[in-house]
């Protein structure tokens, strides 16, 4: 049974993680389905932007720990599946977050371009027994929030509520509980209408700026 569903709303691809009983834990299968969803997005000229959401009032609690514990071979590997993070795509992705957004699920949300969070959303790496590498968060948290906020989340297992996440710049907008998906889709439709093509977002160029020396960034910008 698939654990992910996609649907088209105009130029928007809506992606829903659907493992509500397991709080949308990112099993190996679900990770592969996400990679397929990104391919669907990139391969269709009529799809310009995506919204990623989890059903059941949960974004995702991260790794499927029971699968990791009983798994053999590939399923016992806590390293994310290649291509899981939408950073290399040309299309923007909006994470629409309700409830827990933890571990690998938190990294997935960070790797999206924008985050809309419902009141009640929580972010972080609260499982202090799961010794996996947060490769993507280690790089993105200092850029998006700050060095100190990043180290705190990585070292203490602390979680941030939606308000604090917004305050430290990890969340773009807070909406009432239950509204994240609707607001995410509305924002995506609006953006699609304004930009009129996937290319117009210039996602890769923009992601290329942070961390560049200012002079290099200015030279690049002149050629855009």
């Amino acid at each position: 049974m698939p654990s992910l569903a996609t649907r088209h709303e105009g130029h928007v691809l809506v992606i829903e993680m659907q493992r509500p009983l397991l709080k949308n834990a990112l099993s190996r299968a679900l990770q592969h389905e996400l990679v397929s969803a990104w391919q669907e997005l990139e391969g269709n000229d009529d799809l310009w932007i995506a919204v990623l959401h989890g059903v059941g009032g949960v974004f995702s609690v991260g790794h499927d720990v029971p699968e990791l514990a009983r798994g053999e071979g590939d399923e016992a590997d806590p390293e994310p599946v290649t291509g899981l993070f939408p950073l290399e795509l040309s299309r923007p992705v909006i994470a629409a977050v309700e409830g827990p957004c933890y571990g690998l699920g938190f990294e997935l949300a960070l790797a999206c371009d924008l985050r809309i969070a419902a009141e009640g959303a929580r972010f972080g790496f609260p499982d202090q027994h799961l010794f996996t590498s947060h490769k993507v968060a280690s790089v993105l948290l200092p850029h998006m929030a700050s060095l100190g906020i990043g180290l705190d989340l990585l070292f203490t297992g602390k979680t941030l509520d939606a308000r604090r996440a917004e305050e430290v710049r990890l969340v773009n907008k807070i909406v009432p509980e239950g509204q994240a998906l609707a607001e995410g889709v509305a924002a995506a439709r609006d953006m699609a209408q304004r930009f009129g093509s996937a290319e117009a977002f210039q996602k890769q160029a923009i992601w290329g700026f942070p961390g560049l020396p200012l002079s290099t960034a200015l030279n690049l910008a002149r050629r855009m």
């Binding site: 010794f131 590498s133 180290l151 070292f155 942070p210 560049l212």
Partner: protein, 268 residues
């Protein structure tokens, strides 16, 4: 728990299991960096770094007034006069002074163990830089933090570079160029500190955080601190592609941790 005292007693060192608590102990001078304190901090930093039984360090100030008020300007003036210089600024520029800046003033790239600042009062100038050089900051509600050097005609020089990784550039410039101190709550809102706690509670809270940090194996802490510090200032795509050795899940503790994790999974 054992209690020991640094040679000059300007820095009190106390162990709580794997946590080293270093208390700057010149309360009559607002724990200013002079009188052998920078040297003692350096020595403690290296001892902490090299002692495998120590895993987290907490830095705080004695008394209820100050964490650290920065360089000991009165002492600098005395030394400057002795050197024939006209002001403390000349001394700040003197090579003789450079060697005794505390090592964790932001330059802790060689240290993968977390250091927590328990900011118990005024946290100014070099004291602010010391706190910013730590990995986490807990501040008491009455404390203020800032870089007032500009108000004394001295630029903040040492590790203000760290500031720009802790706040957006425009806020960092405002802090350096106005010299206005921030109240605890403002520092928290800007993400410059991690937590605000009631007066007198910063060490207690820092110790709780240290104990949480100690639940992770060394491989986990080492991997993430190195990855964070190696990647800041690099283009994102380049940093993401960096490969590291010794992944946490390759450690001997991983399988054991997984079993413990199963016991309370899925997280609430």
């Amino acid at each position: 728990m054992t209690t020991e005292t640094a040679p000059a007693e300007v820095l009190l060192l106390r162990r709580e299991g794997p946590v080293l608590i270093a208390t700057m102990n010149r309360p009559e001078r607002m724990n200013a960096l002079g009188g052998g304190l920078p040297e003692a901090l350096n020595e403690a930093w290296f001892d902490f770094k090299d002692d495998p039984s120590l895993r987290v360090m907490i830095v705080t100030g004695a008394g209820d007034r100050a964490f650290c008020a920065g360089a000991d300007l009165r002492q600098n003036d005395e030394r400057a006069r002795a050197l024939g210089a006209e002001s403390a600024q000349a001394l700040l520029d003197a090579d003789a002074y450079r060697g005794i800046r505390p090592s964790f003033n932001g330059n802790n790239f060689g240290l993968w163990k977390p250091v927590i600042a328990a900011i118990n009062g005024w946290c100014l100038a070099g004291g602010c830089e010391l706190a910013m050089g730590c990995d986490l900051r807990v501040i008491e509600e009455q404390a203020q933090i800032g870089l007032p050097e500009v108000k004394r005609g001295m630029g903040a020089k040492q590790t203000t570079h760290k500031l720009y990784f802790l706040t957006p550039l425009s806020l960092g410039l405002e802090i350096v160029w106005t010299g206005d101190t921030l109240i605890a709550q403002t520092a928290y809102q800007l993400g410059l500190v991690n937590e605000v706690v009631p007066k007198g509670k910063s060490v207690e809270r820092a110790l709780e955080l240290a104990q949480q940090v100690c639940r992770y194996p060394n491989t986990y802490l080492q991997y993430h601190k190195l990855r964070v510090f190696q990647s800041i200032g690099l283009p994102v795509d380049y940093a993401l592609a960096l490969q590291q050795r010794d992944l946490p899940h390759q450690s001997s503790e991983f399988r054991e941790g997984l079993q413990a994790s199963l016991g309370h999974w899925p997280p609430k």
